[in-house]
Amino acid sequence: MVQNDKIIRMMEAILFAAVQPLSEEDLSERLPDGINLNDYIEQLKNKYAASGINLIKVAGGWSFRTAPDLSFLLEKERTVTRRLSRAAIETLAIIAYHQPITRAEIEEIRGVALSKGTVDLLMEANWVILKGRKKAPGRPVMYGTSNEFLNHFGLDNVDDLPGIEELKATGLLSPDPPQNINTQDDESHT
């Protein structure tokens, strides 16, 4: 029990001091060997669950954050973020759900040419990063989301994006419509 409290104290100190989320490896490295880390993380999460600060998993790591319901108290700390255009928000979503994706593929989904600045803006915000080149003629660059994106939107990883499982299941994230595309409904009108 004494050992247990000691580990919890250490974790509190380490996690409070870190600015960025700490991965389980980062934590293990700084804690005594041979402990059951998951067990301690669970304990710590529970310890803070009801308080004004919570331990959450974000961008593949653990971090203390203020409880979401108390945001009204923190006007002073609020950072001013530039308002994103509808096109930029939509592009961000398309990149997040379809990554890695080329500019041409984004344009195809939106059915409209992407203005030059849109992706630049998302890259400037550090939410979108380059993810290599596509093995296709012209070897176009592909875009994806960064850890910063996960951190900002409180996601552990891209599989945590809202509704992504459902979208995958309905085939809406694949590049082409399913082969046996449903035509019944249209027939009723012809």
């Binding site: 409070f16 001091a17 870190a18 600015v19 971090s63 203390f64 954050r65 203020t66 409880a67 979401p68 945001s71 923190l74 700390e77 609020r78 950072t79 973020t81 509808r86 096109a87 928000i89 939509e90 961000l92 979503a93 398309i94 997040a96 759900y97 989904i109 939106r110 059915g111 409209v112 040419a113 951190n151 900002h152 939107f153 409180g154 996601l155 994006l161 809202p162 509704g163 979208l167 309905t170 809406l172 419509p177 399913p178 595309i181 449903n182 035509t183 409904d185 249209d186 027939e187 009108h189 012809t190």
Partner: protein
């Protein structure tokens, strides 16, 4: 069919009245999706034919108002007219092209895909965001850095340093080597010995190289010069040269005129 057509036309006026011009639209697909949403049905049950009519009516309305329309909206209008004809005309047999139904299904899928991203974007933007809804620690403890020095040095650096140092300390005067040259002119002089020899006899090309040339490097250069010179003499019809095969010895003989 006709019934549904007029029925849809009834709803059409309503939707158009909501759309005054193209401002605020992100391309033709966006217009289509907006019109589709106004059908107030699940996108999977969307009537593409109705949608096509609505879009065409919308574009017509804009044209009447003399508002400039970007080309891609007109391209979409043309394509929808084509799609309509495909949907309304009887199916052609053995046609390689996609059928009207297939094209309509594709368009419907595209609209669903764009719609799904619209929804996703909304969901993302309403999440609790860092620095807006949830906050990290504002004033973290300073992390004390302990610096460990590692020297960037290779064995080569040491050897080089020692060599440089030795070179410097030996203070050996640097003597620029005279560049060796055995020019074609030199070679011609040597070869001239056999020219006009009354008794022509095959001689090794290499025998016309001064004996003073010992180093391989210099020899190589001299052979090249001698060979070039011999070709000159062949051209002038003064000598004949012969070589059995590649890399075998080259022989030279005076040619009797």
């Amino acid at each position: 069919m006709i019934n549904s057509f007029t029925e849809n036309n009834g709803g059409l006026e309503n939707s158009i009245s909501l759309l005054i011009d193209l401002d605020g639209f992100e391309g033709p697909l966006d217009v289509l999706l907006t019109l589709a949403r106004k059908q107030k049905v699940d996108l999977t049950k969307l009537s593409i034919l109705t949608l096509a009519d609505q879009y065409l009516a919308f574009i017509q309305k804009i044209k009447e108002k003399n508002i400039e329309i970007a080309a891609d909206y007109l391209v979409m209008a043309a394509w929808l007219v084509y799609l309509k004809s495909k949907l309304l005309l009887p199916k052609e047999e053995n046609n390689e092209e996609l059928s009207g139904d297939e094209l309509a299904a594709r368009l419907q899928w595209q609209l669903r895909r764009l719609d799904s991203m619209r929804e996703a974007a909304k969901k993302i933007m309403t999440r609790n965001r860092l620095g807006m809804d949830i906050f990290p620690r504002g004033f973290p403890d300073k992390i004390k850095l302990i610096r460990n020095s590692v020297f960037n040095l290779s064995l080569y650096d040491i050897l080089k340093a020692y060599s440089d140092f030795n070179s410097r300390s030996q203070k050996k005067p640097y003597i620029k080597k005279r560049l060796f040259s055995h020019t074609i002119d030199d070679a011609l002089k040597w070869l001239s010995i056999i020219i006009g020899s009354p008794v022509p006899k095959w001689e090794l090309l290499e025998s016309f190289i001064p004996e003073s040339i010992i180093s391989n490097q210099e020899k190589k250069s001299a052979i090249t010069a001698t060979f070039s010179a011999s070709l000159e003499l062949v051209k002038d019809g003064k000598v004949i040269i012969q070589q059995d095969k590649e890399f075998s010895p080259i022989y030279i003989k005076s040619k009797l005129v």
